[in-house]
């Protein structure tokens, strides 16, 4: 009696202790289930309907996917997306990022850090302000920053958003995107043991050879990581394009897949707004790509190894 009573009390206090545990986890769990899992499933479900303003469920099977394949704009949107991701990624998110981290790690660290800090500015500046800066600096009149600077090279003034929309879109996104790779590459370059670089220098390597034969091979994994990670983030991002060209000038000149999905659902002007069903089908493609790539990254970059067991078993 006493024995069972004692163990009962212990069991109760154990449940009580375990209670804390779930009480601690509950808010986060609820948020993740309700705002990641449910919407992911909903995206696919809504894509099977012709949902509009009224948010009514009216099943239409795969009609939206058929529409997507037959949509005369699909090939253009697809090509735009590929072009946007490939150029921004290679010239900025990897290219410029690598250039900045190599240059800033080959000079005095204090000055190098200052340059890297400047490159963080576009990322932490609110997107609407950052977009305004570019729009304002690239407008058509002669006194606008870009036209004024280029006038010294004899270039006549142009309205960049109309004349060079893609260049503008890539620059705007690129100056934000470069900082991510820059930080990862800098951390990787700094962790290369000094012995390696000294040995190369003693062997008579010059700076370019040092970079080419010692440093680049040693940061192969970070390079792959940044390329993979940024591909996904570029593929799904549309905020800066919406702010700067909104897919224009004209119809869909700089429209990318994610922005097209957004326009189908939420465009305020013109026809074709509130097509939540079609928008969801377009999004579903990105959700599927996102899920697959996330799992692949997890496997390839062995993120599982970061999941160490808790140090002390408490129970």
């Amino acid at each position: 009696m006493t024995g069972s009573g004692g163990s009962g009390g212990k069991g109760l206090s154990r449940i009580f202790r375990r209670g804390y545990l779930y009480f601690f986890l509950l808010p986060s769990l609820a948020m993740i289930v309700f705002f990641f899992f449910v919407p992911a499933v909903l995206t696919f479900l809504i894509s099977l309907t012709d949902m509009s303003y009224t948010l009514e469920w009216h099943w239409v099977g795969l009609a939206n996917y058929v529409k997507m394949i037959q949509d005369p704009w699909t090939p253009l949107i697809f090509r735009n997306t590929m072009f946007y991701v490939f150029t921004t990624l290679s010239f900025f998110n990897v290219g410029t990022a690598l250039l900045i981290s190599l240059l800033t790690t080959h000079i005095e660290d204090r000055i190098g850090s200052a340059f890297r800090a400047i490159w963080l500015l576009p990322r932490i500046t609110p997107s609407t302000v950052y977009a305004l800066m570019w729009i304002w600096a690239t407008r058509g009149d002669r006194s606008a920053l870009f036209n004024w600077l280029l006038s010294f090279l004899g270039v006549p003034p142009v309205e960049w958003r109309l004349q060079w929309p893609w260049l503008l879109v890539i620059l705007v996104n690129g100056f934000v995107g470069a900082s991510f790779g820059m930080i990862i590459f800098t951390a990787a370059l700094k962790s290369i043991p000094v012995d390696f670089t000294r040995a190369a220098l003693v062997d008579g390597a010059n700076t370019l050879q040092l970079i080419r034969y010692v440093e680049l091979p040693l940061i192969k994994w970070p390079l792959m990581f940044v390329t993979a990670y940024q591909t996904l983030s570029l593929l799904t991002s549309f905020e800066y394009i919406l702010l700067v060209t909104d897919g224009g000038p004209g119809l869909y000149t700089t429209e990318v897949w994610a922005l097209y999905a957004y326009h189908m659902a939420f465009q305020v002007y013109g026809g074709g707004s509130a097509q939540y069903g079609y928008g969801a089908a377009l999004s579903a493609v990105l959700v599927a790509i996102g899920l697959v790539l996330s799992v692949i990254y997890w496997k390839v970059f062995r993120m599982g190894e970061m999941m160490v067991e808790p140090k002390i078993e408490v129970d």
Binding site: Y20, L21, F24, L25, P27, S28, M31, I32, F35, F36, V38, A40, I46, L55, L103, T104, F115, A117, I118, W119, L120, L121, I124, T125, P126, T128, V129, L132, M133, I135, W136, A137, S143, L145, W148, L149, F175, S179, I184, L232, L235, S237, L242, L243, A261, A265, Y276, G279, S283, L286, V287, G290, S294, W298, M306, M307, P310, K311, I312, V314
Partner: protein, 286 residues
């Protein structure tokens, strides 16, 4: 000779660095100059004026040649933005430090699966769920409320926050907690009195990251907010930038944008070590 080569090498590095970095500095300079000068001819400003900043006094942004107001009061909008950012930061800190602690310290059914999910979600682009989230927000009756935007922001930021906080908890030696338990604290007291003060850096990082992320939020405001009285500064700057049918002095737009950037600039100047840490841990997952 070697010295000359070394000197040349350094010069080349500096020239390239300055060349690629200068667009950023020039863009900020140009916006800044445009808010204080009547004319900015490329890099050369002339005609200093404070007139574009006059909205600071009244909070009203006037459309020239019209009476009445087309834009909400700047201070109301600032209050909304501040409220949004602080609330987001508050909930993110609480939720992530609770969950991060449990995941770091306890072994429980489904722990591995949960951690795996958090890591995978961390690279998953939440923005692709926008249409489904719009549906959920409508069903919950949270369309056109800041509460809806707050809930979504907190949820989408959480996997990253939990991961960061778990890392900080992992770094605290178990002995510290054990001695608190031996001294008669229960787990809750031990967490609050002993553990939490030791993860101050982590908490600071989450607060700054969440505040800036809430302060800058644009897409969810644009999509889930319908009325001007719930606007945040991002919507105001967006409206001032794109409102071509209402003529606004570009200087006023520039001034409003700089006003919006004040907290960002402060964090940039005084909390850089946290920002760098956030950048590394956040999008970097190492």
């Amino acid at each position: 000779m070697a010295k000359v080569v070394e000197y040349l090498k350094k010069s080349v590095i500096y020239i390239v660095l300055v060349a690629v970095t200068s667009p950023i500095i020039l863009l900020y300079y140009y916006l800044f100059a445009s808010s204080f000068f009547k004319n900015v001819e490329g890099l050369i400003p002339s005609g200093f004026t404070l007139e574009y900043w006059s909205f600071i006094l009244s909070g009203e942004i006037r459309v020239p040649g019209t009476v009445g107001t087309y834009y909400p009061n700047v201070y109301l909008v600032t209050f909304n933005t501040f409220f949004l950012a602080v609330t987001i930061a508050f909930f993110e800190v609480i939720f992530s430090s609770l969950a991060g602690y449990v995941i770091s310290r306890y072994k429980f059914l489904g722990r591995t699966r949960l951690l795996q999910t958090i890591l995978i979600l961390h690279s998953f682009p939440g923005i692709t769920l926008l249409i489904a989230l719009f549906y959920i927000i409508n069903i919950l009756g949270l369309y056109n409320t800041l509460t809806g935007v707050i809930i979504i922001k907190v949820a989408l930021d959480l996997p990253l926050d939990i991961w960061i906080m778990k890392g900080f908890f992992d770094g605290i030696p178990w002995d510290l907690e054990m001695s608190a338990l031996v001294d008669g604290c229960n787990r809750l007291q031990a967490w609050w009195k002993v553990i939490m003060p030791n993860v101050r850096n982590g908490i600071m990082a989450i607060i700054i990251f969440a505040f800036l992320s809430g302060w800058s939020e644009f897409i969810y405001i644009l999509t889930f907010i319908a009325e001007q009285k719930y606007w945040t500064l991002s919507m105001l700057v967006y409206a001032l930038t794109s409102g071509e049918y209402l003529y606004i002095e570009p200087g006023v737009t520039a001034a409003a944008a700089i006003f919006y950037m004040i907290p960002v600039i402060l964090f940039f100047l005084f909390a850089q070590k946290y920002l760098l840490r956030i950048q590394i841990t956040s999008k970097g997952t190492f």
